[in-house]
């Protein structure tokens, strides 16, 4: 109380007060610097680990892919993991077939679902419930998706049930919530006045959606779908129970067992033979390149979308 009275009655000495305000105590300053450094270090840790992973895969993978160059992509997989020898074609084809089939199932279904949520359901209780469920479904472990397709689809079909299509179904379950969520985000970014203008011209909601809303959001939708594709291409767990364990190339998703790059990495990583481990690194490099390619295209597209929408 007294200090307040004193300062109000007479001009207080200004200079010591000012220095108090402008200098931060050493303890506070040190704490600030330490915490900022820790933040920087957490970035550095992840950067270093990421670099280590990529560098190991690149160097170890490159040595086998390069030394076996054309055969790596053109020959089937060696029957015995112990023997050296080229060939990862069966797995590359398997990954392509399963991922493409899964995309053909999940992307149209997912886009349709997102259109319903954003253009019809909006904030109704049903739409909100579906939105919540799609978030929940995105968190379902991929191995559970595999078990589900095994029980639901493979078991009733017996030995014939193990094929590329069953694997694709499991991957599609994994992709569906990702596609729904990313597509809905993109649809939400389309300005409402575009819809209003189209409706005012007499177009129905379906026509508006197909000719105005979706084209406007197209590159964003494609980029979200590509991210889902990259994710599916790298997944292993859903395929263990569903796709079988082939070593020969099989282009047909509907009959005969198949394999995938991820499964080959998993199977060979468990072996202790150096030849098997080399094969795993080679498959890992191939898979990473595939996944990065999808992601790169997706990023380029979403960059374009961001430019279009502003």
């Amino acid at each position: 109380m007294t200090t307040v009275l004193e300062s109000s009655t007479g001009p207080a000495p200004i200079s010591p007060l000012l220095t108090d305000l402008t200098t931060v105590s050493t303890r506070r300053r040190v704490k600030n610097t330490v915490m900022t450094t820790l933040m920087g270090m957490s970035v550095a840790v992840v950067a270093v680990v990421l670099f280590l992973v990529l560098a190991t895969v690149a160097s170890k993978g490159w040595s086998i892919v390069a030394s076996e160059f054309p055969q790596w992509f053109t020959k089937d997989i060696q029957l015995s993991p112990r023997r050296p020898g080229p060939g990862m074609k069966a797995a590359i084809v398997g990954t392509l077939v399963a991922t493409a089939t899964a995309t053909a199932i999940a992307v149209p279904l997912g886009i349709a679902g997102a259109v319903y949520l954003n253009e019809y359901g909006k904030t109704s209780l049903f739409a909100r419930t579906l939105r919540f469920l799609s978030n929940v479904m995105a968190g379902v472990p991929s191995i559970v998706m595999g078990l589900f397709i095994y029980v639901f689809w493979v078991v009733p079909r017996g030995v014939d049930g193990l094929n590329g299509f069953s694997g694709a179904l499991a991957l599609a379950c994994l992709m569906l919530p990702i596609v729904v969520r990313s597509t809905e985000e993109m649809l939400r970014l389309v300005p409402q006045n575009l819809r209003d203008a189209s409706l005012a011209l007499g177009a129905t909601t379906s026509r508006t959606t197909l000719t105005v809303v979706i084209p406007r959001a197209a590159s964003g939708i494609i980029s979200g779908s590509l991210l889902a594709v990259a994710r599916a291409a790298g997944e292993t767990a859903p395929l263990i129970f569903t796709i079988g364990a082939a070593k020969r190339t099989n282009w047909n998703p509907f009959s005969g067992t198949n394999t995938s790059l991820s499964l080959q990495i998993y199977a060979n990583a468990k072996e202790s033979f150096p030849t098997a481990q080399e094969r795993a690194w080679g498959a890992a490099l191939t898979l990473i390149i595939v996944a990065f390619m999808f992601t790169f295209v997706a990023r380029a597209l979403s960059g374009r979308f961001a430019k279009n929408s502003t």
Binding site: L21, R28, K31, N32, T36, L38, M39, G40, S42, V45, V46, A47, V49, L50, V53, T56, V57, L109, G113, V115, Y116, L117, E119, Y120, G121, A127, T129, L130, S134, V136, M137, V140, P141, I143, L147, F148, F152, L176, P177, V180, T204, T205, S206, R207, G234, T236, A237, I240, S262, I265, Y266, A269, K270, Q277, A284, L287, I288, A291, F292, T295
Partner: protein, 318 residues
């Protein structure tokens, strides 16, 4: 033939309704698939529950040869590895998120976001491969040193026990931490960005240092969303299969020693599936899948609830 306006209207309405129905199908597919997952997995695991009863959850022994199928040690392993992952990943993720939003110069922000996204793109089996062949052998001396240092200290001594191999709970926790860093980072980053600049600028204007501004304004504002992000990371860590299966060691154990080999629900399903020929064993593995499904469902329910509530509150305020 002349087409009247009414004809057109009728056709248009039919097309519109068909389209609406088709999109509705896409939306409902999610609910249907989730329902089918619960139903089929529950029905296939009933055989295991009939033979084991509720002791399936409390039995520690996993001895398929004696028809004893206990899930307890796998549940324990799942919980322990996921907890290690979260404990390691949360400070790092928050650090990256805060560095990106509040410390980094603007030209560095995009590359930082791209880097965390890149971690998410690396397939989990590649992390597993790296973990089993590259990381695990290098960790053995680190574990041994840590355990000899902490020897005799009450709690640390038992947590950092004798290291038998490179494939341990801790190794799995480390790899899982790396894999959940992107999701925790990106959600925290978005939540942190919703903090109104008036709050953070106000704190700075009152003379707070950057760190005081972060703890006082930013973190108090975004606490709810960050908790949700952490829960989503926890769910992801519990369900992650292949990476954990490769590095956890695949020998079921319940021990406080984090440097011991163990096993977890998803990894035992993946690992033993090929050898599971009897109906009971398959059913027991599917029952483990059901357990895992329910555990992640619970965590995700809570996480989504927390994130939604936090997001809604923040939008309402700003």
């Amino acid at each position: 033939m002349a087409v009247t306006l009414d004809d057109l209207k009728g056709n248009k309405q039919l097309a519109d309704r068909t389209f609406r129905g088709a999109t509705l199908m896409g939306g409902t597919a999610i609910a249907v698939i989730l329902g089918l997952i619960s139903w089929t997995i529950a029905s296939k695991s009933s055989l295991a529950f009939r033979t084991e009863g509720l002791s399936f959850f409390t039995e520690r022994r996993w001895a398929p040869a004696d028809d004893v199928f206990g899930a307890l040690s796998f549940i324990y392993g799942t919980a322990v590895t996921a907890l290690i992952a979260v404990v390691l990943a949360v400070p790092v993720s928050l650090g990256i998120a805060l560095f990106t939003t509040h410390v980094a110069p603007s030209w560095l922000k995009r590359p930082l976001v791209a880097m965390t996204d890149l971690v998410a793109v690396v397939p989990s089996v590649v992390f597993g491969l790296w973990g089993i062949i590259f990381l695990a052998p290098k960790l053995v001396p680190v574990f041994t040193k840590l355990s000899s240092w902490s020897d005799g200290i009450p709690i640390l001594g038992s947590i950092f026990g004798k290291a038998s191999a490179g494939r341990t709970f801790m190794t799995a926790g480390l790899i899982l931490a790396l894999m959940i860093i992107p999701i925790i980072t990106s959600i925290s980053r978005e939540v942190i960005l919703t903090c109104p600049p008036t709050d953070s600028d106000g704190a700075l204007a009152l003379g707070a240092t950057r760190w005081e501004m972060i703890t006082g304004a930013v973190l108090t504002h975004s606490a709810g969303g960050i908790v949700g992000a952490v829960m989503l990371g926890l769910g992801r860590a519990m369900g992650e299969t292949i990476a954990a299966a490769l590095v956890i060691g695949s020998s079921p154990a319940i021990t406080a020693n984090l440097f011991s080999s163990g096993d977890s629900l998803p990894s035992v399903i993946a690992f033993e599936w090929g050898e599971a020929t009897s109906d009971t064993k398959r059913s027991a593995l599917i029952a483990m899948g059901l357990t895992l499904f329910l555990m992640t469902l619970l965590v995700n329910f809570i996480a989504n609830y927390v994130v939604n509530r936090a997001m809604k509150r923040m939008r309402g305020e700003s």
